[in-house]
């Protein structure tokens, strides 16, 4: 067991994947000599020259050539430098990567991983704080995951690389430097399984990526006031591990979904629909959402007001209980 940051855990996971399979390649802007703008790939090019490639500055080119490398049997892991820069590659992802297996009647596979540092809270300028996960979770043919802890980061990146299906791997960049225990000898949970991050009895908080920590902090604060909240870390956004969510909400009778992305048609909309389909008679109050507002991401000095935080989560919890009284 070692304690490391989420960033280091990703680095260690990538290193292990490179060592385990000679067909694994890393491609991206500045990932080689520099080690990536967040240093996630630091040192890997020196260890695996020829397999960690600094690419030209063209996101569609990175993803499109990675498709061709997949056709040769490689397992490319590409880095999109920031969330807001994935859109030049959007066509390649939704029209090509996601469809190639169907288009070829199942003959061709795209074992591609697209790593995307995402989310706000780091005081960045425009296009560096986006949460575009819903676009990809909405696209048949893609799988979408997001780790919240160093241990999950370490294992999930390796599992994503081992996946024969394309995986969009969202990294919670504001949590890169938070520390946690990583046991390289552990038996990891399946890639697409949700996790009970904190058991509780009174209400269920559903979160993923950067908001898991926020929800855990909210649960701590609520405990001090006598409310016992359960926090589910979804880990996988596509497919969703519905059974873990349903089991929790059936026990607690209340469900609050928390994400940074804008509210309308975000993951919360899908989760709320599924919860009401399967838990309707267990619900004590309406399913609520705590999310970013339906706005282009605001300037950095206003993001604290835009992003869900402990207080907004607790206010929603209060509302969930108040609804019962009304």
């Amino acid at each position: 067991m070692t304690t490391m940051t989420l960033a280091k855990a990703l680095n260690a996971g990538l290193r292990r994947a490179l060592e385990a399979d000679p067909r694994v390649l890393l491609l991206g802007e500045d990932i080689g000599t520099l080690g990536g703008v967040f240093r996630i790939t630091e040192g890997l090019q020196a260890e695996h020259p020829g397999r960690v490639l600094d690419t030209p500055l063209a996101e569609s080119g990175i993803v499109g050539t990675a498709v061709g490398l997949c056709l040769r049997g490689y397992r490319p892991v590409v880095e999109i430098q920031f969330d807001g820069f994935v859109f030049p590659a959007f066509d390649q992802l939704v029209s090509q990567v996601a469809r190639l297996r169907s288009r070829s009647h199942g003959r061709l596979t795209v074992p591609l991983v697209v790593r995307i540092p995402y989310g706000g809270g780091i005081g960045a300028i425009e296009h560096h704080s986006e949460s575009p996960e819903a676009y990809f979770a909405h696209t048949p043919g893609l799988k979408v995951v997001s780790p919240a802890t160093p241990a999950d980061a370490y294992w999930m990146i390796q599992q994503a690389i081992a996946s024969d299906d394309p995986v969009i791997f969202f990294e919670p960049k504001r949590r890169y430097y938070e520390r946690g225990d990583v046991d390289p000898d552990a038996v990891p949970a399946p890639l697409h399984a949700a996790r009970v991050a904190r058991p509780g009895t009174d209400a269920t908080l559903l979160a993923y990526g950067p908001m898991v920590r926020t929800c855990l902090d909210a649960a701590e604060a609520a405990a001090a006031e006598g409310r016992d909240l359960e926090v589910i870390d979804l880990r996988s956004l596509a497919p969703l591990d519905e059974d873990v969510v349903v089991a929790s909400v059936e026990r607690t009778g209340r469900c609050i979904i928390v994400h940074e992305a804008p509210r309308t048609l975000g993951l919360g909309a899908e989760l709320a629909a599924r919860v009401q389909e399967r838990c309707f008679y267990s619900l004590e109050s309406p399913v609520l959402r705590v999310t970013g507002y339906d706005l282009p991401y605001p300037p950095a000095k206003a993001e604290h007001a835009y992003l869900p935080d402990v207080d907004r989560v607790l206010a929603a919890v209060d509302r969930s209980f108040a609804e019962e009284i009304r």
Binding site: G50, G68, R101, D164, D165
Partner: protein, 367 residues
């Protein structure tokens, strides 16, 4: 600007069927192999006209005709070696057939009974692509992979391979295609960019895509560019063979502009009378890719009435086969498609499949 008399223009067989010499390129085959090219072009044209007719009868959803581009396709695919990979666009029917795709496999795609049914890996002929230019990046990555796999510059040339990717004049405006030029040059990818400049992107003339001859764009990316008479099957094969050989030897990508003409419509949904003159079409009919080869082979005595009679019979048989088989193609069962999107199909999607199958069964019971 886009005149065929540009100094880079490579031609080995004139429109009236005379062989001419070029300082850099020579056709490697004999009259028997030229006769095989004539056969391939005639059969491709017959399949094309039959497919257009089938669409008119409502048997195909759509057909993008290759009419006029037979030489560009037959000549280039003739240069493909046993370890090379082909990445076509969606009008490259003679290329696909040259790689072993069957006419019926092509037609299944355009009838809408399948997406792309052929085994692209076994045939070394990738899937058709319908989003303009996307496949050019795939080809670049594939070629990068071939280089990583040590398939270039070997002491034994039989161990070498390269990729050739097809696209049109319209595609050269796409970002993906320009990014592909950058990546291919940067990584010295063993790749031939084979651009069929058929003068129109649906209705928009190639002058709107580029103010300089397309082949000259390549030099800005550090890639050699050649313009070849795309209606001259001999020149196309000679230039493509040279470019593929360069790629296999590790000298990197080449851009070929095959200067040709889409004699038909963009697709069966198009109406070219709205955007081009009959005189222009007539001037290109004089440069027909098939007529000149026939004239040449007749002049040397390599083919005669008997030979042409056999070919006509073969074309008739192909047309008859296609006419009979296309209407009989079974519709796809949606139930099969639930397990094709993923290697590991998510449980929720399997539930949707079960839901669909149960619903269909319940509807059938009522009916």
């Amino acid at each position: 600007m886009n005149s065929p008399t540009d100094p880079g223009f490579v031609q080995l067989l004139t429109p009236d069927g005379r062989r001419v010499a070029h300082p850099d390129f020579a056709y490697p085959g004999d009259d028997a192999s030229i006769a095989q090219h004539l056969r391939a072009m005639v059969l491709a044209r017959r399949l094309d006209s039959e497919a257009t007719a089938l669409q008119r009868k409502g048997q195909l959803a759509l057909w993008p005709p290759l009419l006029g581009q037979e030489a560009a396709q037959v000549g280039s695919v003739a240069a493909v070696g046993p370890r090379d990979e082909v990445i076509p666009s969606y009008r490259d029917h003679a290329v696909a057939i040259g790689m072993g795709v069957t006419p019926l496999e092509l037609l299944r795609t355009f009838r809408g009974t399948d997406m792309v049914p052929w085994d692209s890996r076994a045939l070394r002929c990738h899937l058709y692509s319908f989003v303009i230019g996307t496949q050019v990046l795939h080809a670049t990555g594939l070629a990068m992979g071939m280089r990583l796999d040590g398939m270039v510059g070997n002491p034994d040339p039989d161990a070498d391979g390269a990729a050739i990717v097809y696209f049109g004049d319209g595609a050269t405006s796409q970002g993906d295609v320009n990014e592909a030029f950058v990546f291919a040059a940067s990584y010295t990818a063993p790749l031939v960019f084979f651009c069929q400049n058929n003068q129109y992107a649906i209705s928009v003339p190639s002058e709107t895509q580029s103010r300089i001859p397309l082949y000259r764009r390549a030099s800005g990316f550090g890639i050699p560019g050649v313009r070849v008479d795309g209606n001259d099957v001999l020149a196309v094969q000679a230039v493509t063979a040279w470019a593929l050989d360069r790629a296999r030897r590790g000298q990197g990508p080449t851009f070929i502009e095959a200067f040709t003409y889409r004699m038909g419509a963009h697709t069966t949904s198009d109406d070219p009378t709205k955007y081009r003159e009959r005189a222009e079409e007539a001037s290109w009919r004089e440069r027909d890719p098939i007529g000149r080869v026939r004239a040449y082979l007749r002049s040397t005595g390599a083919i005669d009435d008997l030979w042409e009679g056999h070919l006509a019979n073969e074309a008739d048989a192909l047309a008859e086969e296609v006419r009979a088989e296309v209407p009989a193609l079974p519709d796809p069962d949606l139930a099969d498609w639930f397990t094709r999107a993923y290697v590991r199909t998510p449980a929720g999607l399997l539930r949707q499949q079960a839901e669909f199958v149960a619903y269909e069964a319940s509807v059938e019971e009522i009916a």
